[in-house]
Amino acid sequence: MNEEKDILILAIESSCDETAAAVVRNGREVLSNIIYSQIDLHTLYGGVVPEIASRKHIEKINQVIEKALAEAGVSLQDIDAVGVTYGPGLVGALLVGVAEAKAIAYAAGKPLVGVHHIEGHIAANFIEHRELEPPFLCLVVSGGHTHLVRVRDYGQFDILGRTRDDAAGEAFDKVARAIGLGYPGGPKIDKVAKEGNPDAIQFPRAHVEDAPYDFSFSGVKSAVLNYINGCHMKGESFSQADVAASFQKAVTDVLVGNAMHAVEEFGVDKFAIAGGVAANSALRQAMARACEERGVTFYYPSPIYCTDNAAMIGVAAYYEYRNGTRHGWDLNAVPNLKLGER
């Protein structure tokens, strides 16, 4: 048997409001996954405040990295490369992780591997599904992203569709705020919707003309806001649970519809979801059913790997490292980085 040396990646993620570090072995085994969530800080403002996020990152980043190394039981000298998210995301937040990762890699004499945040989300599926290998299709849905992606090989992607306006998670946040659930909207709508009737209100399912895989969620969001305003004008109350369930159904229907259209068109037998909204229970159930009907194997990460985390960045960095990707000490944060760019 060919005994290959283990490859250890120290990964750092700070693109939004989680300060995270992880150690990953051979691209599939998570030795540690430390996440410091700032969510309570931002709840006060009804959303992520970039300057506050950046300030918190710099306060916490060393502790998070030190804890990731300690929990993994490794020292910096054992690490083969340092992986870091360099886009897309909030530029000030990204810069903290990028500057920190560069300095660590430089001082420890290790290669630096910049990682695309979405590539990380997709790679989260490799952690718990050791058998999963490209090619497959993946729907990435989060507060900042809605992408339908064909994963041709490790690190090789075709973006089939993307949102034209709001990201799916953004629509969840805005609707949650409008119906008085507060931030973060995703988990709160998911919970309240369980008590509601998803067919109570018919919200629109938007399809983008000539782009069967693209999404648009501003229409459904506006429809919810109009419905609530209408109720207020008439002096009527509305059922929070019914609105949540009906809105969630409208979004889920579009996500599942476009995804399955692509599954059929490209004839794939593996489909995965990723990103914060991939933790939504209604979306998971609907996708699971749709995949089963088509004889397609459905993959999804545990909630801890759906949220922003560094383990997924470590997995993506491993495959980039294997593909020869190396970044210089002039690596910058790229807030609008395109998937597949290096």
């Binding site: 300030r55 060393n62 990028v98 990762a101 300095a103 660590i104 430089y106 000490w329």
Partner: protein
């Protein structure tokens, strides 16, 4: 004693290595480019030129605010990452103290000022009589208020920093005390000054852990400020 010093608090990006009583290398660029792309390559460049073994560094001094929020964090995150990997402490140098140290030994008061936007300057007032001392702690105030403070002190002063070209007219109108402006080779941030002060503070035991270090912005974020204003109104 060997120290690496960084300053990316303003438009200048600067890195220096100091050893005991001398500067071994300094790289200073005052040109608009993101410090994220320049600072670590500058460190790498001087380290190679002086064949520096990073493991021989005793500490990292960093200009830790006030300044551009993003610039400060690039310097701080770089220092924190180096400190973590090399397992050495950081020396937190208040940006205005580092700037004032450019003028070491002058008999006048030293007043660095940085453009802080929102009609304010980041400033402080320092003296070298009987050693380096702080007359007015660094703060964010309108330039008129600074001029009044200097007039009250009634002593000759040397002014420097990127706030000078922005507010020179106001200063000229308002200042009644004798004043001069620092020349081109010492009127902006220089990592060698940060490092020299860093060595002094290090010897006084004024260090912090890389993990514990964070910049001192002298200002809360805009969101926090607006929230405080809203709460005040209510």
């Amino acid at each position: 004693m060997r120290i690496l010093a960084l300053d990316s608090s303003g438009l200048v990006a600067s890195a220096a290595v100091l050893e005991e009583e001398q500067t071994i290398a300094e790289y200073t660029v005052n040109y608009k480019k993101t410090h994220s792309q320049t600072l670590l390559p500058m460190v790498d460049e001087i380290a190679r030129m002086i064949e520096l073994d990073l493991k021989t560094l005793d500490a990292i001094a960093v200009a830790a605010g006030p300044g551009s929020f993003t610039g400060l964090r690039i310097g701080s995150a770089t220092a924190k990452g180096l400190g973590l990997a090399l397992d050495i402490p950081l020396v937190h140098i208040p940006t205005l103290e580092g700037l004032a140290y450019n003028m070491y030994g002058v008999s006048e008061l030293v007043c660095p000022l940085m453009d802080a936007r929102r009609k304010q300057v980041y400033t402080g007032i320092y003296s070298f009589k009987g050693g380096f001392s702080t007359v007015v702690e660094q703060c964010a105030i309108p330039v008129e208020e600074l001029a009044d403070r200097l007039n009250e002190l009634g002593q000759a002063v040397v002014l420097l920093g990127d706030g000078v070209p922005v507010y020179r007219e106001t200063l000229e109108e308002r200042l009644t005390v004798p004043h001069t402006y620092a020349p081109a080779h010492m009127n902006r941030q220089r990592a060698a000054s940060v490092g020299a002060l860093g060595i002094a503070y290090y010897r006084q035991g004024r260090t912090e852990t890389a993990a514990g270090h964070a910049p001192d912005y002298l200002r809360v974020s805009q969101a926090e400020r607006e929230r405080a204003q809203r709460e005040k109104k209510e």
